[in-house]
């Protein structure tokens, strides 16, 4: 196998290892995400050619285009990019911590927990969009904390984390079902749309908090990637190599929970992006370890592309983006289960 690792040395003696293939993948994914964003901004009841979209983004468009692009479609696309990136990164962190390709936030019940918070707001308090988002954030955090505490037994990792997550998820799902039966049919319809994950009507109010959180959490996660990579070799080995295992794990789990919960607060529990993005990224980079940055870019590219599909693929009827990711994710999941089973990794 051709090695793609290169060491880059600066004159001062500092050196970093550069995975050329991973770098190419990251750049390609970024290009895909940005291209899809431009196409998505141009798509809608008033189609705008890609060239005009770009011109408008750089402040050279006419007034009508300015309004449509900057006020209506750009925030939606930015929310999509940020949500996808957060989910991709959160999924990569969780899968690495649980050492299981299926140990993603949606399987572990974080999405369900955030949904419970949002449903409480919708059903019991008839809350507005901001209150729903806050409810989702709190619900996701509380669920994450509960999973961590319940899985704690001289450390948290691996199978116990996954199985406890499944148990918590089952309880929260039941609570959600109950809240749905308590609501009147109008609230229920609103809740179901929210529960599927949708980017409809997102504006700048959703962009800024997400951007702020990402600005803090993404560097935090990337800085700890080394420790995470070592932890995949086992707790004892990484402890011997000088990684403070439980501290790094707690920090990264907290980051992953926050990322997932804030993404869910902004767009609802968009299914399967957190599950699929890290796996697809890993297959493209062919590199072991958590693959955090590629997963992040993959998540953003996936979600924006899925949003474009959801607007175009079903004719006049527009479906929420979560339906598209759900269908694609289901197909992908079967494939993953079959191949991983053959390799004996699940």
């Amino acid at each position: 196998m051709k090695t793609t690792n290169r060491a880059v040395r600066s004159p001062g003696g500092l050196s970093i290892r550069l995975d050329v293939r991973a770098l190419v993948v990251v750049l390609l994914l970024l290009a895909t995400a940005l291209t899809a964003s431009v196409v998505l901004i141009g798509t809608g009841d008033f189609p705008i050619p890609a060239a005009d979209v770009l011109r408008t983004l750089f402040g050279q468009g006419n007034e009508g285009q300015e309004f449509i692009v900057n006020e209506l479609r750009l925030p939606r696309v930015l929310v999509g990019l940020l949500v996808g990136a957060s989910l991709g990164l959160g999924g990569a962190l969780f899968q690495s911590i649980s050492r299981n390709p299926l140990g993603s936030p949606d399987v572990l019940g974080l999405g369900q927990g955030a949904t419970a918070g949002a449903l409480t707001m919708i059903v019991l308090f008839s809350g507005d969009a901001n209150q729903i988002a806050l409810g989702a954030l709190v619900g996701g955090l509380v669920t994450g904390l509960a999973i961590y505490v319940l899985a704690w037994k001289r450390g948290v990792h691996g199978y116990r984390l996954v199985l406890v997550g499944i148990g918590v998820s089952a309880i929260v799902t039941a609570v959600n079902g109950y809240l749905l039966t308590k609501s009147d049919i109008v609230d229920a319809a609103r809740a179901v749309v929210w529960m599927t994950g949708s980017l409809d009507g997102r504006d700048w109010d959703q962009v800024w908090p997400l951007l702020g959180l990402c600005a803090v959490l993404v560097p935090l996660a990337l800085c700890n990637a080394r420790g995470l990579r070592m932890m995949e070799m086992g707790d004892d080995v990484s402890y011997a190599l000088g990684v403070r295992v439980e501290r790094v794990r707690l920090l990264l789990m907290l980051a992953a929970v926050l990322l997932t919960a804030s993404a869910t607060a902004a767009a609802g529990p968009v299914s399967f992006v957190a599950l699929t993005a890290p796996q697809l990224a890993r297959r493209l980079t062919r590199s072991p370890g958590p693959n955090l940055l590629p997963s992040l870019c993959m998540g953003a590219a996936l979600l924006v592309t899925a949003d474009w599909l959801s607007q175009r693929a079903f004719g006049a009827e527009q479906l929420p983006v979560g339906v598209v990711t759900g269908v694609l994710g289901g197909v992908y999941l079967l494939w993953l289960l079959v191949t991983e089973r053959k390799a004996g990794r699940i």
Binding site: N100, L102, Y159, L163, A170, G177, Y178, G330, L333
Partner: protein, 347 residues
């Protein structure tokens, strides 16, 4: 100390001493008595409270008083709870033995989700409205997902984690499908949001009539599998040496679990954790012999289900908490306890 084998293995290899068998048989009678009591409670407790005298009157001297009408109403609900509870408990016990997986449960393995997705499809896209129509869809869905989970997670070196993950992942995919259907169709939403939580409140006599044959057939099949499943518990090679037909036992076990779960889910909606909890409790006092586990599970599972149903009626008065929600809230902590108790190495 090294020579002595653990108690449950001893029970497996040596026939139980006569006194122990008497104790177990007596316990079975006791279990039936508890079941009768819970069933009475299920008839007596609700929006309108009935005295035991009124229940008795309604059951045996039906003369059309208001109390008697209430008894008749709650009767079908209670009978369905009995049947569905027994079905889920048996299915759980059989699945746990078959997969040698202490965490197997029809709900966790996605079998309920398969049945649900098929029923929703039947209602929404094929316009099937009667239970007798969609019970076949439920079987098909349960069987398809059961086979898939078995193929993906279980056929080679099944670990509890693998099976649970395969089941959860497939459930998640089917859940997404359910949601898509509910978004597109408001009528389906109105109907499905009550059905998908699992409830006994819609039970009628005709519901029972329609699922009874399937539940009886599944129950008899499950009970008949006790001996071959016992043999399989000793390992594939030993079982073969004892003359058990492994493939036939596996196929029949899946068939029994599918029929039981499919019919129960079609009638009550998806109910999780009953099939997980009861066999565990039972195993703790019967030991690993399925000839005892299965009958106990069949009697004590309805105790749990009816008990959960009664609790659901008491805590949310004057409304009620659907039984599927109560079992999930009771069962989740039990599941987490079981996960925590085992060492990671054993999973």
């Amino acid at each position: 100390m090294l020579v002595e084998s653990p108690p449950e293995q001893r029970a497996e290899t040596a026939p139980a001493p006569p006194t122990r068998r008497v104790v177990r048989a007596f316990g079975l009678v006791l279990a039936v008595a508890i079941l009768v009591l819970v069933a009475m409670a299920s008839i007596a407790i609700g929006a309108k409270e009935l005295s035991l005298g009124q229940v008795w009157h309604g059951l045996f001297e039906d003369s059309g008083t208001y109390g008697d009408v209430v008894v008749a109403e709650r009767m079908s609900r209670t009978v369905l709870g009995l049947l569905a509870g027994a079905a889920l408990g048996l299915a759980g016990a059989v699945l746990q033995a078959l997969t040698r997986n202490p965490l197997a449960d029809p709900g966790l393995l996605g079998i309920n989700a398969g049945a649900s997705a098929a029923v929703v499809t039947a209602i929404t896209f094929f316009g099937v409205t009667s239970l007798s129509g969609y019970v076949w869809f439920a079987f098909f869905g349960a069987a398809a997902v059961g086979a898939l989970v078995w193929f993906l997670g279980g056929s080679r070196g099944a670990t509890p984690v693998r099976l649970a993950l395969a089941g959860t992942a497939i459930s998640a995919a089917l859940y997404g499908y359910l949601q898509a259907v509910m978004i597109m169709d408001d009528a389906a939403l109105g109907k499905m949001r009550f059905w998908t939580v699992g409830s006994l409140s819609a039970a009628t006599d005709s519901t029972i009539e329609q699922v009874l044959p399937f539940l009886l057939a599944g129950t008899i099949l499950a009970l008949a599998l006790a001996r071959p499943l016992n043999a399989m518990a000793m390992g594939d090679d030993t079982a073969k040496a004892l003359g058990a037909d492994l493939n036939r036992t596996r196929a029949l076990s899946m068939l029994a679990a599918t029929v039981l779960c499919g019919a129960a889910t079609a009638a009550c909606g998806p109910i999780v954790f009953v099939g997980l909890m009861v066999p565990h409790v039972v195993r703790s006092f019967t030991g690993p012999d399925l000839r005892w586990i299965l009958p106990y599970a069949a009697i004590l599972s309805p105790v749990l289900l009816l008990g959960a149903d009664v609790i659901g009626r008491i805590v949310a008065r004057p409304a009620e908490l659907q039984v599927g929600i109560v079992t999930a809230i009771l069962g989740g902590p039990v599941f987490i306890y079981l996960v925590r108790r085992r060492r990671t190495a054993q999973l």
